[in-house]
């Protein structure tokens, strides 16, 4: 009888056998790549705001303290978004005729809040408390990055749970002196040359801080109800 399949078919089959699994791997791989890409995590993308407020200018250049606007950060779960009044404390005197500040003036006049766009948007079932972090040697920069260098603020970290866990498992890798908490230049003790020449010295220093600040065991910190209620 005659061949049903041409001689070339064998090559085709081999190609499929080798190529199929490879393609599958590639697919899965790319899915992971997307999941971790800034597009999915929304990192590094400056968010436009009704008023082009520049942290770089106010924090970096004028050196205004974070707490001036974000008053809740040491007391409350929410750092707090400043009321229009706070803006007007200065801007009732400065740049009073600036067009870009029109929304602020309007807000005050009409007693309507300014609708800011949220940059760091945690899921609603995550209960992040600013005050406890700031009071235990974590700092603004740990999560928000160098806002003093950001014109418009962007999200600096993935905000994935696994990212949170890094710190809740090994706070020593991120902690610094409490005094540094709201310092926009803050660096973690392990990366701070001032805390020792070698990594060993720095990490021992950091570990000491963890002890001194009575930071809870990673067992407690990685417990579900620490963040989910």
């Amino acid at each position: 009888m005659a061949q049903i399949f041409p001689a070339g078919s064998n090559a085709v089959v081999r190609a499929v056998i080798v190529g199929g699994p490879l393609a599958l791997c590639a697919l899965v791989g790319s899915l992971y790549a997307i999941e971790w890409s800034p597009w999915a995590t929304r990192q590094y993308a400056p968010i436009s705001q009704p008023v082009p407020f520049s942290h770089k200018h106010h924090v970096g250049q004028l050196g205004i303290d974070c707490r001036y606007c974000h008053q809740g950060v040491e007391k409350s779960a929410y750092a707090g978004i400043p009321p229009t009044e706070t803006c007007m404390t200065c801007h009732s005197q400065l740049y009073t005729d600036q067009a870009m500040l029109a929304p602020v003036r309007q807000s005050l006049a009409e007693n309507r809040p300014i609708a800011w766009n949220k940059v760091h948007d945690l899921p609603d079932f995550v209960y992040f408390n600013h005050s406890i972090h700031v009071n235990k040697g974590m700092g603004c920069t740990s999560c928000h990055g160098r806002e003093n260098q950001m014109q418009l603020v962007w999200q600096d970290q993935t905000l994935y749970m696994s990212w949170c866990l890094q710190c809740h498992r090994h706070p020593e890798n991120f902690i610094a002196d409490k005094s540094q908490a709201v310092n926009p230049q803050r660096v973690a003790a392990v990366d701070d040359p001032a805390k020792g020449a070698t990594h060993e010295e720095r990490i021992t220093y950091a570990r000491q801080l963890v002890k001194d600040y009575h930071i809870l065991s990673s067992g407690v910190l990685t417990d579900c109800s620490t963040c989910h209620r």
Partner: protein, 502 residues
């Protein structure tokens, strides 16, 4: 291709129909003990086997029975699709479940289907290992049945989730949350057990199919069929060397499938026995469940092959001997199951534990007592009819008994799941469970899904293993290996120079 459309199948039918009825009235050849002895009707040859079974697939025409069955099954499958659409839209609240009865029909059906799925691998693997040649004529069919039953079963654990769309969290894979499933949970074991079982059964079934596909490839002259079967056969050419590896692999797979089939329903039984609920928390569950699974599996096989062998006139392959043997096995596992019921009751009393005792009492005399006694009737009493040889060898009687057993096994799961849940430790939480329309619809729907797949399988693939049945030809009687008459399908070979016509 004239060869295929010519009458041989039909005259085969007449022939086999003849000796089929023959056996039925009990005049067939008998073993010394007087049991039907034949694994194959007389006058079969390698070629006739290929012709007979191959034609069911290759022949375009189909018996009315198939069409009727398919129409019914397909419409039921549509019911299934509809009810799960509604389920996704509204939530599991559309079922009768509540607190405390948080598991209802869904889990009952799951366990039932999984049980049915056990016959296939049991027949093809375990019976193979113990050289029960008579299983050759039914293993292909039952393996397919296994696959479809397991598919039906598999849908339920998924559907019964509160949030079906995140079912994949049961699967261990690296994720952005840094979380893993809880490997201590029987449900995770279930996932691994069922998916492994499905994969291995699929492999086993396909490996067995390869040589048959090759046969079909070579028996058809239609180009596209040649190509399709050709691809399916992976270029199988029956080389002696291949056969050598093939056989050993097939045996090894059987060796793997044997413990697997026992483990799967054991794991399913862990869903219950690992829990602390009286009526669930029981050490006899694994063997008890496995026996029950084989019980219902065999019953379902009989319920299907008895009509099928009639419709397709396969009596000469699926002989009384086969039916009789299956009936025997059913009788044995049936007795094991009955023993299980007895043990449960006994240990409830023997344990002295008030909750266990109450549970046992509540099963028999509680608000759901009817289900328990119905279960005893269908699962214990009726099957005793199998002690009678006449029942075992008379298809229609066997069919009815099997039907009872299928109902009974479903009731058993109802009793275990629902009756145990509805009254547990705290009396204040006791409640009744009332299934809703959607409970029934979903169940009926999966039955539709099951038969749709099965009928399609019958239509497009050889439902009996040609290769393995050939090995029975020798036992078909005293016929020479090459049949007396050249099967018409090979007429075209005859006029080839030097074509051998014995």
């Amino acid at each position: 291709m004239p060869g295929l459309t010519q009458p041989p199948p039909t005259d085969a039918v007449q022939k086999n129909g003849a000796n089929g009825s023959h056996g039925a009235n009990g005049h067939g050849p008998r073993s010394p003990l007087g049991y039907p002895d034949r694994m194959m009707g007389p006058g079969e040859t390698h070629a006739s086997v290929a012709a007979k079974i191959g034609d069911i697939v290759l022949d375009g025409k189909h018996p009315k029975g198939w069409w009727v069955g398919f129409a019914a099954a397909f419409s039921l499958m549509m019911v299934f699709l509809f009810s799960i659409t509604y389920l996704f839209y509204k939530g599991v609240g559309i079922w009768g479940i509540n607190i405390p009865v948080a598991w209802g029909f869904a889990i009952v059906n799951f366990v039932w289907w999984i049980g049915i799925g056990h016959a296939g691998t049991f027949i093809s693997a375990i019976l193979l290992l113990v050289f029960q040649k008579w299983r050759n004529s039914i293993n292909r069919f039952t393996e397919a049945m296994t696959l479809f039953a397991v598919s039906c079963a598999g849908t339920f654990p998924l559907l019964h989730l509160g949030r079906q769309w995140v079912f994949y969290w049961i699967v261990p894979y690296p994720n952005t949350m840094g979380l893993w499933p809880n490997f201590r949970s029987p449900l995770v074991w279930d996932f691994f057990a069922v998916s492994t079982y499905f994969t291995v059964s699929l492999l086993f079934w396909y490996v067995g199919l390869i040589p048959d596909l090759a046969t079909l490839r070579d028996c058809t002259t239609v180009r596209w069929k040649q190509i399709l079967f050709g691809i399916g056969a992976l270029g199988w050419r029956g080389s002696a060397v291949h056969w050598q590896r093939y056989k050993i692999t097939y045996l090894l797979l059987a060796g793997l499938a044997a413990p697997l089939v026992l483990s799967v329903h054991s794991v399913v039984s862990f869903d219950f026995s690992v829990a602390i609920l009286p009526g669930w928390h029981s050490t006899i569950f694994p063997p008890f469940f496995v026996a029950g699974a084989i019980y219902s599996g065999f019953a379902m096989v009989l319920n299907i092959i008895i009509p099928v062998r009639k419709i397709y006139g396969l009596q000469s392959y699926i002989t009384e001997r086969t039916l009789n043997n299956m009936a025997n096995i059913m009788l044995v596992v049936g007795l094991i199951v009955a023993y299980g019921y007895a043990t449960e009751a006994f240990f409830a009393w023997f344990s002295g534990d008030q909750y266990e005792r109450f549970q046992a009492f509540n099963r028999a005399f509680g608000p759901y007592g009817w289900s328990y006694w119905l279960l005893i009737l269908t699962n214990v009493l009726v099957p005793q009819a199998l002690w009678s040889r006449t029942v075992r060898t008379t298809p229609w009687m066997l069919f009815i008994v099997a039907l009872f057993i299928n109902v009974g096994m479903w009731l058993e799961r109802f009793v275990i799941v629902i009756v145990s849940l509805h009254r547990d430790f705290t009396p204040s939480a006791w409640r009744m469970y009332y299934p809703t329309f959607w409970d029934y619809a979903t169940f009926a729907g999966t039955i539709g899904l099951f038969f749709t797949l099965l009928l399609l399988f019958i239509r497009f693939l050889p439902m009996i293993s040609i290769t393995e049945v050939r090995e029975l030809v020798a036992e078909g009687g005293s016929q020479p290996i090459a049949g007396p008459a050249m099967p018409p399908m090979f007429a075209r070979l005859a006029d080839r120079p030097g074509g051998n016509v014995p």
